[in-house]
């Protein structure tokens, strides 16, 4: 369940994402808390507790409950636990409607945990059922593969199949590349339901420059339709050992760059060796991700406002998948926005995704 939804069903006052106290649907936040300058309930020291529920008392005598769920923490503040003897008598009397017992907090915590589990298992089953239907899609794709290969074998010149693919006519080559992309996308869907798949098959040599170049070529046709040019620059002789699924990262980043780039622009893929491995970055010109949204772009199913406006359809899974794969390789993908101008009240500029691939060690 999303964090905002949790707060909406909380009967007690809570600290929201903007770090402000908000009313619960049963108990309101004390006016005292709304004016508080100390902000004890927002301090990071509270986050160090390990238990599921931690109780502490702020400098104004109110109780703070920190509730740890799997995906996030909820701070209940501005209440008075019935075993809180720190609060002054008059204040306790003035806010007697905010007196609650820890048992109530525990009951609410248990109820929300169960609800989360129920929703997760329901979503997992739905996702698994949907993904299982993908198996039929995969079978059909195999048939398409074999037919495309038969056509290439029959109508292209070359002594080996690889040569025939190289010598194939442009539409046939484009068809074969599209199939390769389709295969990779189907692979990526597996990562959502089976994250362990990321590391299946073991490590293998990954010729960075060659793979990035190949993926950029796959998206050339689609980019050309928006008069976008993809250029691959730099040099790398590195062939680090990576899992097969690593190509999901350049696929997602270049795909997003093509999708969200403004027309008549250039996408730059830059690859450079350094002492530790390989630096890679994908830069495209278009609407920027806002500061508030940057921390969320790798969340599952999250789409930024600008992404939704640019392209109404989208699963919000791409960057999430890229992050799963990056994490498996101890790689961190960083986003940087370089503001250039404002268009239609939107900030536009260079969207840069950069990461470092560890070299052979």
């Amino acid at each position: 369940m999303p964090f905002d939804a949790i707060l909406a069903i909380c009967p007690f006052p809570t600290i929201n994402k903007e770090r402000k106290i908000t009313n619960g649907f049963l108990i309101g936040a004390p006016r005292y808390c709304k004016k508080c300058r100390e902000g004890d309930c927002k301090k990071d020291t509270l986050q160090q507790a390990n238990q599921a529920i931690t109780h502490s008392v702020c400098s104004n005598g109110f109780s703070i409950f920190l509730l740890r769920f799997d995906a996030y923490d909820v701070l209940i503040a501005g209440v008075i636990s019935d075993n809180n003897h720190h609060i002054r008598g008059e204040r306790r009397q003035a806010y007697r409607k905010n007196i609650i017992s820890p048992a109530i907090i525990q009951s609410w915590y248990d109820a929300v945990s169960q609800l989360n589990e129920f929703i997760s298992s329901g979503i997992s089953k739905t996702v698994r059922d949907s993904i299982a239907e993908l198996h039929d899609v995969k079978r059909t794709t195999s048939v398409v593969n074999r037919n495309a290969e038969s056509v290439i074998k029959e109508y292209s010149a070359g002594s080996s199949f690889g040569d025939k693919v190289e010598n194939a006519s442009p539409p046939l080559k484009a068809l074969y590349k599209s199939i390769t992309l389709l295969n990779s996308r189907l692979d990526m869907m597996s990562i959502i339901t089976n994250p362990g798949y990321v590391t299946d098959g073991g490590l293998r040599n990954f010729p960075v420059m060659k793979i990035f170049y190949m993926i950029a070529k796959i998206f050339e046709e689609e980019a050309a339709q928006k008069q976008i040019r993809i250029s691959v620059e730099g040099q790398s002789k590195n062939t680090p050992k990576l899992y097969k699924t690593f190509d999901a990262i350049p696929i997602v980043l270049i795909d997003n760059a093509v999708k969200y780039s403004l027309p008549n622009q250039e996408i730059t893929v830059l690859i450079e060796d350094n002492n530790r491995g390989v630096n890679a970055s994908i830069s495209s010109f278009g609407p920027l991700v806002s500061k508030e949204e940057i921390s969320r772009i790798f969340e599952k199913e999250y789409r930024t406002e600008s992404a939704i406006q640019a392209e109404s359809k989208g699963s919000g899974l791409g960057l999430h998948i890229a992050k799963i794969v990056a994490d498996a390789h101890a790689v961190k993908i960083e986003y940087r926005a370089e503001f250039k101008t404002t268009m239609n009240k939107q900030k536009v500029g260079n969207n840069i995704f950069a990461f470092e691939i560890p070299g052979n060690s």
Binding site: R128, H135, N145, F161, L182, T193, Y197
Partner: protein
Amino acid sequence: MDWKYVIGIISTVALFIWIGRKLMGLFSKKQLETLPQPAITYNELKKRIRIIVIDDDKESFPIEILKDEGYAIDYWAEVQSLSKLEDGYYDIIFLDIKGITKKYHTPNEGIDILKHIKKENPSQIVVAFSGHSFDLSKSEFWKIADDTLAKPVTAIDCKEKIDELIKKFITPHYFWLAINNILQQHGVKEKQIRRIEHQLVKAIESKNDSNLKPVIESVIDDVNMTTRVINMAFKIVGLFK
């Protein structure tokens, strides 16, 4: 000093040393690692490697294109002979998960077949080949196999995978390591293992492997184990032909 006398002594000593070394060469056991790398060409190797694809969907693997590329590929829609899979008859097995065990009625189908092969012959190379990469419950299949190939695949994917496996596993060193492991696991003494290795080297050097099988049979009692070791020994010899 009579120089002829001195020269005579030196020559006699040198002669004895030479004879001694020849005799030692006769009695010491030769080792595989002393041999130079096999000179077999990759194209020739491709033709000799036996590959089997076991999948109820024949369209899933580009068999005809790879046959045209020079690979020796057999196809079964379902498992026809467990012993052929266990004994090392096939160098590389591409194994699907579902729909391939109508004859053997195993509850987990391909996973059970894979476990059985690996139990009987841990050195048998098996590639998990399936479209069920999304299915968490099939994770074991991917992890037990020597390598994985998720469907759908292109001919180029398959060719690259096979070439990678041949370079990694189809080597004298890999096969000898596998033979060694089998023999040690079955309690064969080090002296006997050295005897087999010596006979193997002799077969390679003389290009005559007629004594190899009798030597192996004389050392090992278990029929199944004998078959597997003989298969692998002949594969090693074949690499040097």
